[in-house]
Subunit: 344 residues, 2 copies
């Protein structure tokens, strides 16, 4: 039970050439005109000897590793963890293995991960690109490495991508707040030029503009750093309240922002939805447990994961295939945090 058994070992014990063994074990008997009986013998000895193909050797020969990389911001963030799980499951259906990696919204780390994974000869990438990683993506494209962007994309780049309808979803969510009677709505978002975030901001702004709620002089959007902690986010919210006296609703751009924001609101003793209504992007188990269950935008993680894998594999198997760019709609889940409050 020490040494691994190779095709050569099988060939030797059966008394044939390695070629024959390879043909049989790859179900190429027909094309290679292998004898029926000997094929069976080969198959039997293979299982008898406990043969496990060496994928590394296979990959070296064929130039395909049947592996791809999934680069996200942080695998421990439930959003990406769920996405990853869906990607994993879909990949398995096509006999692909996926290697996850976390880039922490950091271009340098991202480049590092891309290097490591290309050295490992992955057949392609699914990437939630970090800010300033545009050249990295371009380089991959130039090198003809199949690639699907997910969650975000770059305006100028013609790539495959799978997104949700960030603009419309935000527009819809904010409109919902307005319909619920809110007139002074703030937004907390990340300080970034990544398109998904810009779209969410645009959706927010347009909804306000279209409903003539915009007070031009006050900045209604507070942006914070990707790695902002609860205090910084709390400070941002405080500023929003200071700049917009009477602010009666907040729209959070992501789950992390929401969670830290809610804790700050609790500390500041704001009540939801009485003092301030809340709507946010993404899901979290915690949203169900907040005293006023949150209204949130549910992203289609299952479909996004599946689609990304399918597109990637299409691109891997047919390198000439055109780019696919899809946007899958999110769903607004309305609950108590954005309820209409009786004025008294």
């Amino acid at each position: 039970m020490k040494k691994k058994v190779s095709i050569k070992d099988i060939a030797q014990t059966v008394g044939v050439s390695t070629a024959l063994v390879s043909y049989v074990l790859n179900n190429k008997e027909k094309e290679a005109r292998v004898g029926k009986e000997i094929a069976q013998v080969i198959r039997d000895t293979a299982v008898e000897m406990g043969y496990q193909p060496n994928q590394i050797a296979k990959s070296l020969k064929t130039g395909k590793s049947h592996t791809f990389g999934l680069i996200v911001a942080d695998i421990s963030n439930p959003f990406f963890a769920n996405l990853a799980r869906n990607v994993e499951d879909e990949a398995k259906k096509f006999n692909y293995t996926v290697i996850f990696a976390s880039a922490d919204e950091n271009a340098e780390k991202s480049q590092n991960l891309i290097n490591i994974l290309t050295e490992r000869q992955v057949d392609g990438f699914i990437i939630a690109p970090a800010e300033n990683s545009q050249e990295q993506i371009e380089a991959l494209l130039k090198n003809n490495i199949p690639l699907v962007l997910i969650d975000r994309y770059f305006k100028g780049l013609d790539t495959n991508y799978v997104m949700t309808n960030n603009y419309e979803a935000s527009y819809h969510a904010v409109s919902h707040l307005i319909e619920a009677g809110r007139t002074n709505i703030g937004m907390v978002a990340y300080k970034t030029d990544l398109v998904h975030m810009l779209d969410r901001k645009r959706g927010y702004l347009d909804a306000i503009k279209d409903n003539k709620l915009l007070k031009a002089k006050t900045p209604l959007i507070k942006t914070v750093d990707f790695n902002a902690n609860q205090e910084e986010i709390g400070a941002g919210i405080r500023e929003l309240f200071a700049q917009n006296p009477g602010m009666d609703a907040l729209f959070f751009a992501t789950n992390t922002l929401t969670l830290k924001g809610l804790k700050s609101l609790n500390k500041m003793q704001y009540r939801v939805p009485d003092d301030v209504a809340i709507v946010c992007f993404d899901e979290s188990e915690a949203f169900d447990f907040f005293y006023s269950p949150l209204t949130y935008i549910e992203q289609p993680l299952l479909e996004m994961g599946k689609k990304a894998v399918q597109i990637l594999i299409k691109n891997i198997t047919d390198k000439k295939s055109l780019n696919t760019q899809i946007s899958i709609p999110s769903k607004l889940i309305v609950r108590q945090s954005s309820a209409i409050v009786k004025k008294h």
Copy 2:
């Protein structure tokens, strides 16, 4: 920018043999007595040509893939997602790549994943073993494949493992409930013989016994299936209440059980901690948002992840090294859900 550049290409343009290039790029100049000037030329042309080593070829030659597999129950479960992130980071420090996979507490899936990963020639495994996967682990051991169990282990098997002190942590948590004045404490756990779960049950039972609270005739532990939904867990809790009139506290064995359990308790209109105190294993962002912030057992995920990686790598580099079996203590975070309630 089409074809990848190989060591051969570099050798050709510099005008030396591939051996020299290999020596230089692997920093074996000293041992191989490569000329200083030519070494520099080789190094320069390598970066000029944008050389990226082919890890697949390297692996085939050296028999080491510098990769290991991490098999957990479900990567989308925050417990495993966090663990995975810590494993990822620690592995990167040693230049290892990790391949995550979810076995869904299912032995068949687990075997499947092990097969796929061994075919990919991973250098080792970190596994949170599923029930009935003992023979799989034994087989790996017999084949001399380095291996660290995490979160759970098997009583009869001499393997590396990294765990938390499930028994003591549970004992302590339940004792804490008793000290807080609770006298009729139920437990919700998974129906499994995996050691970590048995230990948590034992800790619970012993704490009760040592404090003379045990009513022998009533089964105070309700066990449910791994994939039990909220309704089933709710039904379990209902039964517990029926069998133990006056039950005034519940101990949940995992985060998932807790989340579903709390939702059921809400539905049944039990109030925490007035009607029933709660303590649970694992963390969840949601615990902070429950109206009565939960008292929970915080597992040392960072240390567990790090240790597991370190032990695995030690085992990979020195196959003769003895098994390391460590238990890292968890911490009870006491909050409102287990508070003392004034009787009236």
